[in-house]
């Protein structure tokens, strides 16, 4: 296919790059309004407790405090999923994790608000809490939510094909338990919301609400605000300023967003709340720690005949996206390889910990770590090359998988070829010096969920385009740019379609008053869906321009080519001559036809041009726009995108999650070295090939792939939320260790273009699919380097050393608190004790008992 695009396929700077790099760009916390107050939230110090009473009177009396709100100020429940409305802005009767939201103070300064928090008296009745997911599943009393027996948020049991038969007939079966510890997004920007009410001009009471928030989903926020505040959505405007990274952590309505609005309503003044980093960890919605019991059946030729997976996710105290996460974990067992028989048992379990939710590679990452590791074990057992065993299990698209996923474009074979070639896999695998190794793994991801969270026939994306008389193109899109570059993507798609210069395009995005509805930036849906909507809107406008221009150019509209900011008759060379035979005649013919531009003439230059006007073979974009506006009146278009019915999956319970109009594919090779004395793992290089359909902006795709590899490497080696009885031991970026630039390996991002038949210009997702391959690629490389097979992530030096020592039968040292990282049974907790023999917080100056004693003394 010839590539004669002029805007797409080119590496261009993000349209918002200047603001971000100079610091002039405005993020939510950069905003302020006259009279604005600062909100601070009081969090629960207990993992599970009933609130007997809350007394805010002392806080309210503090100078500078304007309002204190509690659960009863906004009692309506909400949650991102219609089946999971289990959250309240502020706790009503119970707190369910350390960090749960209890009250909020709005004050004239942050310091005063913090002081006021210390003056709120909450009387708690402690309840027994559940922390370990497998323990929590057994709970019969002291449930986290009364309507969830055994603390089971949701369990699914899927059988596709005949797995039992396949296992019975297998040549070899691998079986093992894998543990993936909990990770979080660690986006650079902490969540921030500014909420302000306008006064109703007639009644003087509070009227419309405007909320600026760091969100990936402005329209869901508008919807949930409407539910909680009992206001019509039309009275609520949500604006997304620049967002400093989301990765899923802002892809649902976070309590801060509702709390700010509730506080602003009570204070009758604008309220801004910015989370501290610790609060970001409590808001969490990260990747749940996961137990994967995995069993794979193969034939001697390496073909996979069946997979059984039992997945237990420690979901934390609220549903969040949990039901979707546990479904993705099962659904995405399919659509990567050809697996004819699948059994999946997924358990999403509630525990007294911050809620888990969606995180880059939602649902697939931990299962993929287990699967790709086990596939490597099988390859070793069958004495087969790990890349070869993957090639032997490829799908044959177009096809529909056993679990109902439609696969069309499928660049996985080329991805594998690319990384094998570039890493010189065949020459080097197994032949590197001791302690150094190569590992391969594959992954995939959806290009947008084919079924939206809220079931409806509404298009998933709609885009409006308006073109002004001077040729300025304004795109109104609901897509939320969270740093991934969606504003740039829509500008490119529109400019390419209209053949106009990119500089003409202005993007107005993610403002619920201005932009048509788009369901948000999650599930890697924006390029595919909003891109298609943009394409359609641009085509609609283009049609109008072509109709008007055709009159001017005395040709059929379909003969006009839009390119390089001009409209030309088809077949015309750059110098204005027609290339096809007889072209010269055509040209002279048309020159005899007179023409006139109607309407107001805007610019001198244009005026000058028109003096000698006649029918033309080539006119500027601007001239064409003027003609079109004169002809049609206003020039605007709308395009929308709805996933096709055939891509929406099967009929089984839970079939709605997993289907996508297209899947991205990734293959990676990691090269690592392992220090056998210390257990330290160094990643030297990662070759990452990603099939994104078509790279609309290659540098942006490469950036996303590199970022995915880097984030995957964090989960593989350094990142881990450390728990002790529900208390997060490392709620900060010092102790929660995302890799630093020093730790970053060279990443060779390789773009594979499979040109999807339904993607905009063939494009699919680029931002998530690569992450999941990195973790097993590193695990497999560690195996190649030193022969140990880690079943628990992250592969911290203590775990690696423990496995190394066990392998060489060294004197046992309890390096991992008794949890064998090659065959872990359960999650381990941090050492030490929270309290000792009943000694607890009462010793502290803020303790009520002590304070009463002091007050008594003063009396």
């Amino acid at each position: 296919m010839t590539n004669d695009y002029s805007i797409i396929g080119k590496s261009i700077a993000m349209v918002d790059a200047a603001g971000k790099t100079t610091g002039s760009g405005k993020y939510a916390d950069d905003l302020s309004l006259p009279g604005m107050l600062y909100g601070k939230i009081l969090h629960s110090p207990h993992p599970h407790a009933r609130i007997k009473s809350i007394d805010t009177s002392r806080a309210e009396r503090l100078d500078g405090v304007i309002a204190v709100v509690t659960g009863k100020d906004a009692p309506n429940p909400f949650g991102i999923l219609p089946v999971g409305h289990d959250e309240h802005a502020l706790a009503l009767d119970k707190v369910r994790y350390v960090g749960d939201n209890v009250a909020c103070v709005a004050a004239v300064s942050e310091t005063i608000a913090e002081k006021a928090l210390e003056l709120i008296d909450v009387d708690y009745e402690h309840l027994p809490a559940s922390f370990d997911p497998e323990e929590s599943m057994k709970a019969e009393t002291n449930l986290i939510h009364d309507n969830k027996p055994n603390n089971m948020e949701k369990d699914y049991h899927h059988v596709f094909g005949d797995p039992d038969k396949a296992f019975a007939e297998a040549d070899y079966i691998a079986e093992g338990r894998f543990l993936a510890n909990e990770v979080t997004h660690a986006a650079m920007e902490p969540h921030c919301t500014l909420a302000a009410f306008e006064l109703d001009p007639h009644t003087g009471t509070l009227g419309r609400l405007t909320v600026w928030s760091s969100t990936q989903v402005p329209y869901y926020l508008q919807h949930k605000l409407s539910l909680v505040l009992e206001m019509p959505m039309s009275q609520i405007r949500v604006i997304k300023p620049l967002v400093g990274g989301g990765f899923g952590g802002k892809s649902e309505v976070i309590p801060i967003e509702i709390i700010a609005a509730v506080a602003a309503r009570a204070a009758q003044r604008p309220v801004k709340i910015t989370y501290t980093r610790e609060e970001v960890f409590w808001a969490h919605r990260g990747r749940p720690r996961t137990i994967v019991d995995l069993k794979t059946a193969v034939k001697n030729d390496g073909s996979i005949t069946a997979v059984k997976a039992r997945v237990v996710q420690d979901g934390g105290a609220y549903c969040s996206y949990g039901v979707v996460t546990i479904l993705y974990s099962g659904a995405l067992l399919g659509a990567l390889y050809d697996i004819p028989n699948i059994q999946y048992d997924g358990y999403r379990v509630l525990t007294n910990k911050p809620a888990c939710g969606a995180m880059r590679g939602h649902g697939t990452v931990n299962v993929r770590f287990a699967f790709e590791s086990q596939l490597d074990e099988i390859a070793a057992k069958l004495k087969m090359d790990p890349a070869e065993i993957r090639r032997r299990n490829l799908l044959k698209p177009p096809c529909i998988t056993i679990n109902g996923l439609r696969v069309q474009s499928y660049g996985l074979p080329e991805c594998i070829d690319q990384v094998v070639t570039r890493s010189r896999w065949n020459e080097r695998k197994g032949k590197l010096p001791r302690g150094r190794g190569l590992g391969v793994a594959c992954s995939h991801y959806v290009s947008g969920a084919a079924n939206s969270i809220i079931r409806s026939d509404m298009p998933h994306s709609t885009v409006n385009i308006k073109i002004d008389r001077d040729g300025g193109v304004v795109i109104y899109t609901g897509a939320s740019d969270i740093g991934q570059g969606s504003d740039t993507m829509v500008a490119q798609v529109a400019a390419e379609t209209l053949g106009c210069a990119l500089s003409r395009v202005k993007v107005v995005a993610a403002d619920t008053d201005l932009t048509p509805i788009d369901i948000g930036s999650y599930s890697s849906r924006v390029t595919f869906m909003n891109g298609n909507a943009t394409l359609r809107a641009a085509q609609q406008v283009k049609k109008q321009i072509a109709a008007a221009a055709a009159k001017k150019m005395n040709c059929a509209p379909e003969d006009i080519v839009f390119k390089n900011d001009r409209l030309e008759r088809q077949g015309l060379c750059g110098d204005g001559r027609l290339a096809r035979p007889g072209g010269a005649e055509l040209r002279s013919e048309s020159a005899t036809v007179s023409g006139r531009v109607e309407g107001q003439i805007l610019r001198g230059s244009l005026q000058q041009k028109r003096k000698d006007e006649g029918p033309k073979d080539s006119i500027t974009f601007e001239e064409a726009v003027v003609a079109a506006i004169d002809f049609h009146g206003a020039l605007s278009g709308t395009g929308s995108y709805t996933p096709p019915p055939e891509a929406r999956g099967g009929k089984h319970k839970g079939a709605g999650v997993g289907p996508s109009p297209a899947y991205s594919y990734s293959a990676q090779v990691a090269e690592v070295s392992v220090d056998e004395d210390t257990g330290e793992v160094t990643v030297h290089k990662v070759w990452a090939a990603h099939d994104c359909g078509r790279a609309l902006n290659p540098v942006s795709v490469e950036g996303q792939v590199i970022g995915s590899v880097w984030m995957g490497m964090g989960q593989a080696l350094t990142e881990e939320m450390i728990w002790k009885d529900g208390l997060l031991m490392n709620p900060g970026l010092l102790e929660y260790r995302s890799p630093s630039s020093v730790d970053s390996p060279e990443v060779e991002a390789i773009i594979v273009e499979s040109i999807d038949p339904e993607g905009p210009f063939g494009a699919k997702e680029a931002s998530e699919g690569s992450l999941a391959a990195t973790i097993p690629a590193i695990a497999n490389a560690i195996y190649d380097a030193v022969g140990i097979r880690l079943h628990e992530s992250p592969f911290t030096p203590e775990r690696v050393l423990a496995a190394l020592r066990a392998k060489r039968n060294a004197k046992p040292l309890n390096l991992t608190q008794g949890v064998d990282p090659t065959a872990p049974a359960k999650f381990r907790e941090h050492g030490g004790e929270l309290c000792f023999k009943g000694k607890g917080p009462e010793r502290h100056e803020f303790d009520p008992a002590r304070r009463e004693a002091q007050l008594g003394g003063a009396d």
Partner: protein, 331 residues
């Protein structure tokens, strides 16, 4: 988390600084680089009424070789300067080796040698926000009377987590402390108490002003091995500094300093007797490693298990001794 309100005092001379310290003793904290103090104040670990910003006291900065040997370091000398100092790299290489591992380049530009010596001891149960600490019982080091890492104990085990003091101990460094009653000099080894919540012998009216590296410690080869999860930013989870002098293929002298595994940085005793005057062998290096591991008493004050951190003390000690005793290049 907001920074609690305080009054900022900005003296220009040491005399002025110690006068202010004396005046507000007990209700004042010293700010040099601020990289340790300010995050701790945000966490409400300290809420002093006054903060003494000594960054304008010029006389406290600089690396000055002394006429009769030895080097004097002003307490305010940035760690970046220590890291890049030619004179230190040539004569006292263990110190720049340790300095270059502290935190990250940006933090080393701000952080000072005095600040690294005076660094507050650290513990996962202590270096947390007030809200976090309210979620469990307050500990001995701050507001409470129990220890989370050694339940039932009455002693604080917060780990001293500066990198450079392990190296300075190997160099037998002395420090000068000023107050309104004059100057006093103490061996760095005597500065630390080994008690996590009262970890240094520095009265509230005293200011650390200078560090002296004696002439007798010049010319030792030096190595610093730091256990960290990331290659940058992290505090040490275990640290081993080794200074070693060779002559005629033998080890003339060797000193091993540890950090981040005890409430105080510590020299490993017995290593000199084990190795001095002898040829380096694998077994002797191993034995030195075992001695070092016995000196280390890591607890669950940080990430990674205590057993692993102690094991790394052994491995690092051995590795550092082997490499210093066998490598060809001096320094």
């Amino acid at each position: 988390m907001s920074l609690p309100a305080f009054k900022l005092l900005r003296p220009r001379t040491t005399a002025e600084a110690v006068a202010l310290l004396a005046q507000h003793a007990g209700n004042i904290r010293i700010l040099a680089g601020g990289t340790d103090l300010l995050p701790s104040m945000q966490q409400k670990l300290f809420a002093p009424e006054y903060v003494l910003d000594i960054r304008r006291v010029r006389e406290l900065s600089g690396i000055r070789p002394q006429p009769h040997g030895g080097v004097e370091l002003g307490a305010l000398t940035p760690l970046t300067d220590i890291e890049h100092s030619d004179v230190l790299r040539q004569h006292y290489p263990v110190l720049p080796e340790a300095a270059k591992t502290v935190a990250s380049p940006v933090l080393r530009n701000m952080g000072t040698i005095g600040g690294n010596i005076c660094l507050d001891t650290r513990c996962l149960w202590y270096n947390q926000s007030l809200q976090w600490r309210k979620s469990c019982a307050f500990c001995i080091k701050k507001d409470g009377d129990l220890c989370h890492v050694a339940p039932g104990g009455t002693r604080c085990w917060a780990a001293f987590s500066g990198d450079t003091p392990a190296a300075l101990l190997c160099l037998d460094a002395e420090i000068e402390i000023a107050s309104t009653s004059g100057l006093r000099c103490v061996k760095l080894a005597d500065f630390y108490t080994g008690i996590g919540d009262d970890y240094r012998r520095l009265r509230p009216d005293e200011l650390l002003t200078r560090v002296f590296l004696p002439a007798s410690s010049a010319g030792y080869r030096g190595a610093y091995r730091k256990l960290r999860i990331r290659g940058s930013i992290d505090y040490p989870l275990a640290g081993v500094a080794v200074a070693l002098k060779r002559s005629n293929g033998h080890i003339e002298d060797v000193r091993v300093g540890l950090t981040a595994v005890n409430p105080a940085p510590a020299l490993v005793s017995g290593v000199t007797q084990l190795l001095a005057g002898r040829r380096m062998t694998e077994e002797r290096a191993e034995a030195a490693g075992v001695l070092a591991a016995q000196t280390a008493k890591p607890l669950t004050t940080s990430a990674l298990t205590p057993e692993y951190r102690r094991e790394m003390i052994r491995v690092f000690t051995k590795q550092a001794i082997v490499s210093l005793a066998t490598e060809r290049k001096l320094g």
